[in-house]
């Protein structure tokens, strides 16, 4: 439909795969972090709060560099994962997903945390008196009531992951077919004389994808609202 070359389709497909995998992996951690920050007081809470939001305020290149140091094959975490589980991040699309997940994480946690904070705890008390243990209370009452915030967090993280550039290129470079996402491809094309037409097509794809994600989240949020309020 956009008359893309196979190489460009590869970049599009790769971007989507990386963004989806990054968001899916970030989600359980995002819900856990949002819940902890909203509900619990513990030693080191300020530190966790700061760590979660650090990627939002650090230059992406710095985040990418830190990932390279820690999650590279010779890094403490990357080396461990490689030796024990055969999981490699450096110069792989999985590394791009990790970078995108980390960059999108603060944007995911914020609305989820606010949603947990906004829930009336009285519903949870009511569920407990009706025989639900803490896990069931969370799954049947807390999480469903926080769903609009979770949807918003997923969208923001997904959008960030789709457009991530700085941390990704620093961590896993710009390898066509492996780590070259739409953003990286556009950047490469703008560096080549006569690459404008190709870059323009990819820019169009990026706009369409962003709009589609926005519309999908609006639709989901409205469906959640209907479930809650019955109209």
């Amino acid at each position: 439909m956009f008359d893309l070359s196979p190489a460009e389709w590869t970049a599009v497909e790769l971007s989507l795969r990386i963004a989806i995998v990054a968001t899916a992996w970030a989600l359980p951690f995002g819900i856990a972090a949002g819940w902890l920050l909203a509900r619990k007081n513990f030693w080191g809470k300020t530190l966790l709060d700061g760590l979660v939001f650090l990627p939002l305020v650090l230059p992406p290149v710095v985040t990418g560099y830190l990932l390279l140091i820690w999650f590279g094959r010779r890094g403490p975490i990357g080396g461990f994962l490689d030796n024990h589980f055969g999981i490699v991040f450096s110069f792989r699309w999985t590394g791009a997903a990790l970078a995108c997940g980390v960059m999108g994480f603060p944007l995911m946690v914020r609305p989820i945390r606010l949603a947990f904070e906004a829930i009336d705890r009285k519903f949870e008390d009511a569920a407990a008196t009706l025989g639900a243990n803490q896990i069931l209370v969370f799954l049947t009452v807390t999480l469903p009531l926080a769903l609009p915030g979770v949807i918003a967090g997923v969208l923001l993280c997904f959008a960030r992951a789709l457009g991530e550039f700085g941390a990704t290129i620093t961590f896993v470079s710009n390898i066509p077919g492996e780590t070259q996402t739409i953003s990286a491809a556009i950047y490469t094309l703008t560096q080549i004389p006569g690459g404008d037409a190709e870059a323009g097509r990819l820019v169009l794809v990026a706009i369409v994808l962003a709009l589609a994600a926005l519309i999908a989240s609006e639709w989901l949020a409205r469906r959640a609202a209907i479930r809650f309020h019955g109209e």
Partner: protein
Amino acid sequence: MIVLAVDVEKQLGALQLSVRFEAARGATALFGPSGAGKTSVVNMIAGLLTPDRGSITLDDTVLFDAAKGINVPPHRRRIGYVFQEGRLFPHFSVRQNLDYGRRMSGRAHDEAEFARIAALLDIKQLLDRRPRMLSGGERQRVAVGRALLMRPCLLLLDEPLASLDTGHKREILPYLVRLRDEAGIPIVYVSHTPAEVRRIATTVVRLDSGRVVATGGLDLLDDAEADGLG
């Protein structure tokens, strides 16, 4: 026969709560002015608030004993609780709200029991609605049904009529009387309105400033009215 024995103490801000009473079968009213600590007492019975000292015993089960370190969590107490504002789950239909206690305990669905309680409270026509679409009186009837369907050993009603206007109060009172006579579950009924207590309670525990000032029959209400409480 004593069903419920409460002997608890708790510091709640400036209020030093120290309450001791026993309840037999039938309906016991916790009666007293706002701020007397009535809701705190039922929250302690339900396990939502932990006393500083004392004990709570239901039938032969110790629910709480500070000295022995016993504190049964609310989800294992099997105490039905009807809150002042109903607290129906907004993301569930009426039917799902009613069914919640059964689902959480993993019991099989009992259609006969469901139909009996829906008929008792006259809520059959509401089953597919969302709590948002109910009137205040309907909401409280569903809340009572939800508490009954978990097969409680004790039913706590905390000012269940407080959020309703006079017309809806009249509408729901007969259901509560029927409940007391037909369901056979002991009831603790919290209220500051003598007229309500008179309709429902058989025993009255009068609270004031965190203490039990009198225990007895409905004649206690006359004193209260004479004191200008009603």
